[in-house]
Symmetry: C2
Subunit: 222 residues, 2 copies
């Protein structure tokens, strides 16, 4: 079976992505980033999700992006917005997806994996630039120039199975594949127990997704 | 004065790159990566170089790439080659430049910098894929899609002032700009005092560079 590196935040989208990679027959190596996020509970969620969906390994890399600051997800002096905002919100973490994909690229090369999965979505999302199809295409192009494997003729594919789905479609697909969404943490300000605020952008998108999909929302709200 | 993020390994090339950025009028923020490299002495060298060339800040990020393995620079069970090898050598660190550029991208966005400098060279180099002009162009393209700054119309430039220079030309330029190469560490297996082996690929390129430039080599060999 081919190996794949799956970026796993511990949220709804990445859990669904892992289930899809698994269904497609990949042996899944999951990678999470402990970057100083305020919703650190997502990392414990990621470990549970990886185990429940049969990943062969789950690795958490440590990298102190909070030392750069500039985001409400890493700087607790900046409030997480609880109502919709115009433009790219303050919860954007500079270059986070580029950093995470770079780490996935490094690990995939050592593993001999030719496939990386990331659960970005450009429909029901927070408007982050590094979730858009153009960005993903640019990273895939880069990845094939960056590596020894690429130079030697192996093609690396960046899979984004959710990119054009609505949140409700993602949830329906995940439920069919056996994802237990009660294990996942999406909230930008989840407490240490993983309980959600219910009002941040990520909670609002998730709530609406379950409502639109017609399934009960298993999220523990505080 | 415009700000720039300068990737600084502590070696000859990155020191020269910092001197060039400074001469071009940038306020320089230097970034190094403590990634589990066996030649950790380069980090102490980077701190000295940053100070000697008037960087306003020098930051060292910690990231355990040694946990991935796959390179003689992070796995002490793999020997550093001491004679020329065909193809991409075992000292290649998977995705290292992509990871370091991603971190530079994150920091530049928080700083409001629009310029990143990296001392890659595609002439007298070890044949690493992530030092080639095509790769650099791909990263610059990605960077402008990845960030809030890019979306909002700011153009980010990735500067590679050494990319087409020989090692001798780099050294001549650096000496004109006042770089003290005695502070720099290039050796892939420098000891804790920064003393060089004299026989690894990096040492051989450096030695030949000083010889070709007609300047005495200030490197402390052990």
């Amino acid at each position: 079976m081919a190996k794949a590196v799956v970026l796993l935040s511990g949220g709804l989208d990445s859990a669904t992505t892992l289930a899809i990679a698994k269904r497609q027959g990949y042996t899944c190596y999951c990678l999470s980033l402990d970057y100083g996020q305020r919703h650190r509970a997502e990392l414990a969620a990621a470990a549970k999700v990886a185990q429940s969906l049969g990943a062969v390994e789950h690795r958490v890399m440590q990298l102190d992006l909070a030392s750069f600051g500039g985001s409400a997800l890493t700087d607790t002096n900046l409030a997480v917005p609880t109502t919709p905002v115009a433009g790219i919100p303050i919860t954007y973490v500079p270059a986070r997806n580029t950093i995470m994909l770079s780490l996935a690229l490094a690990w995939s090369e050592v593993l001999g994996a030719r496939d990386i999965f990331i659960g970005v979505n450009a429909v029901d999302y927070s408007g982050y630039p590094d979730c858009r199809p153009d960005y993903i295409a640019a990273f895939e192009h880069l990845a094939n120039l960056a590596t020894k494997a690429g130079v030697e003729g192996a093609h690396l594919t960046l899979h984004t199975p959710l990119i054009q789905l609505s949140k409700a479609e993602i949830i329906r697909q995940g439920l069919q594949l056996g994802v237990d969404y009660a294990l996942t943490v999406s909230c930008y300000q989840a407490d240490a127990h993983g309980r959600a605020c219910g009002v941040c952008d990520s909670c609002r998108l998730r709530k609406k997704g379950f409502a639109d999909a017609g399934y009960p929302d298993p999220t523990p709200y505080r």
